[in-house]
């Protein structure tokens, strides 16, 4: 049972390779898994460096999104005026498609790395913000009453009740935003790459597609998918460990 996903994956790869060979599908249409692995082996350093560049943007964006998301959720939780001011803009940011605004951001920001981080942050921000805001509002009214009864200030209540209560929600948002930050980084790199900024795995994908180097393009895609899976599981494991340590899991 434990090995079922791996066995299924190997079977799917075998079927893919078999279908490509039997059907004599040209490599520029669909390369088989062996051709994809060969493309990776031909230039592992270049592809991994590009992956490192994409992940660097991803983690930078995730950190910025976490700081901004928590800060804005706390401000919103502490003040109705802040809530009225922030919420519509946060939703507007969420529904604005990144490919539509990425070229503008890249032009306005100037520095390509910062521009990529800004783009990925926009995509990663909302789940962190919304989840943290939900978590801050999650303590039952009786606990809020208890803090009032003992004369706790608003900020003491925030520090001792609301922020700890929001932790599981924040960690759940972090896991979602991890994947979104990677997607945001890749989309931004594609836009930047088409403008001539050579960096990240998305640029390698773009470059390989222009040159019809489909095995290399697939190798980059596989690396991205693996990075996304590892990011998701890694953030999930970190979250679980923190919650276990806090007695919440």
């Amino acid at each position: 049972m434990k090995w079922a996903p791996a066995l299924f994956g190997l079977l799917a790869l075998a079927l893919w390779e078999g279908a490509v060979r039997i059907g004599e599908v040209p490599v520029y249409i669909l390369p088989g898994p062996i051709a994809v692995v060969s493309a990776f082996v031909a230039d592992p350093v270049g592809l991994l460096q590009s992956l490192g560049s994409t992940l660097f943007v991803t983690f930078a964006a995730l950190i910025v999104a976490a700081v901004l998301g928590v800060a804005m959720a706390v401000a919103m939780s502490a003040s109705r005026l802040a809530q009225a001011a922030i919420q519509p803009w946060a939703v507007a940011l969420q529904v604005t498609p990144l490919p539509a605004i990425a070229p503008l951001i890249i032009i306005w920001v100037g520095d390509p790395f910062v521009a990529l981080v800004v783009c990925a942050t926009i995509v990663a921000f909302f789940p962190l913000f919304a989840n943290t805001a939900t978590g801050l509002a999650s303590p039952p009214p009786e606990l809020n009453d208890l803090f009032r009864l003992y004369g706790a200030s608003r900020w003491r209540t925030m520090a001792l009740l609301r922020l700890p209560a929001a932790l599981p929600y924040f960690l759940s948002g972090l896991r979602i935003s991890g994947g979104l930050a990677l997607v945001g980084a890749v989309v931004a790199e594609l836009v930047a790459g088409s403008g001539g900024f050579a960096s990240g795995l998305a640029y390698r994908i773009l470059e390989a597609s222009f040159r019809l180097e489909m095995p290399r393009m697939f190798a980059a895609l596989v690396l991205l998918a693996l990075a996304g899976i590892l990011l998701n599981f890694g953030l999930g494991a970190v979250g679980q460990a923190i919650l276990r340590r806090r007695g919440l899991a």
Binding site: P140, E142, L143, D145, L146, F147, R148, L149, Y150, G151, A152, R156, L160, L161, P164, L167, R246, G247, L248
Partner: protein, 244 residues
Amino acid sequence: MLTISRVGRLFPGGVEALRDASLRLSEGDFVALLGPSGCGKSTLLRLIAGLDQPDDGALTWDGGPPAPGDIGYVFQDATLLPWATAEDNVFLPLRLRGLTRDAAMPQVHAVLRRVGLGGFEKSRPRQLSGGMRMRVSIARALVTKPRLLLMDEPFAALDEFTRHKLQADLLDVWRGAGCTVVFVTHSIYEAAFLARRIVLMTPRPGRIDREIASTLAHGPGTRLDPAYAALVAKTARGMADALQ
């Protein structure tokens, strides 16, 4: 200790929770507020705690209004911090008053022992049974040595065996702590077992209908005592009259 004079509370939307409710609490009292759901018992408790304000009437405290820590509150659910250990939950009111952990721990451990939770100081709420969680909640309310302990149907969600045990233990704690207790319940048996004074309330709008004094001598055989059965019967008749 406290005089409640003709207080009324009208909630937005026109729901009149309380009208002309008057009550006097003395030091060391054990008062049960008894009545059906929606008769304003919890509203009255919140007014006493200062968590809500009356629209009419007044609450007058002998010697001035209570300071933080003078009132302990136990809710229907234990409402503990799920991430905190039993001792940290009990430490919370002292922490909010500015005490350091080291200074507070002897007091915290003593009150946990008093409610029968010695040895469970490091347990988290999810590791405790419903009855034990409620004991932590009572310990949290007692740790500041309150003059007044307000309890809002604290045992309603517990099984009967646990409820009986906690009721007996609460009487021991009350005698030891020497504070005044106001205990909200909709159980005639519970009110008769616990209280020195049973205050009957009627619903919509909530009013105080009458008061029944108890002279029961509490002990292991109280529930089998004919005087307890007579008090239950008297309270049930009074409640039936009040509801007409």
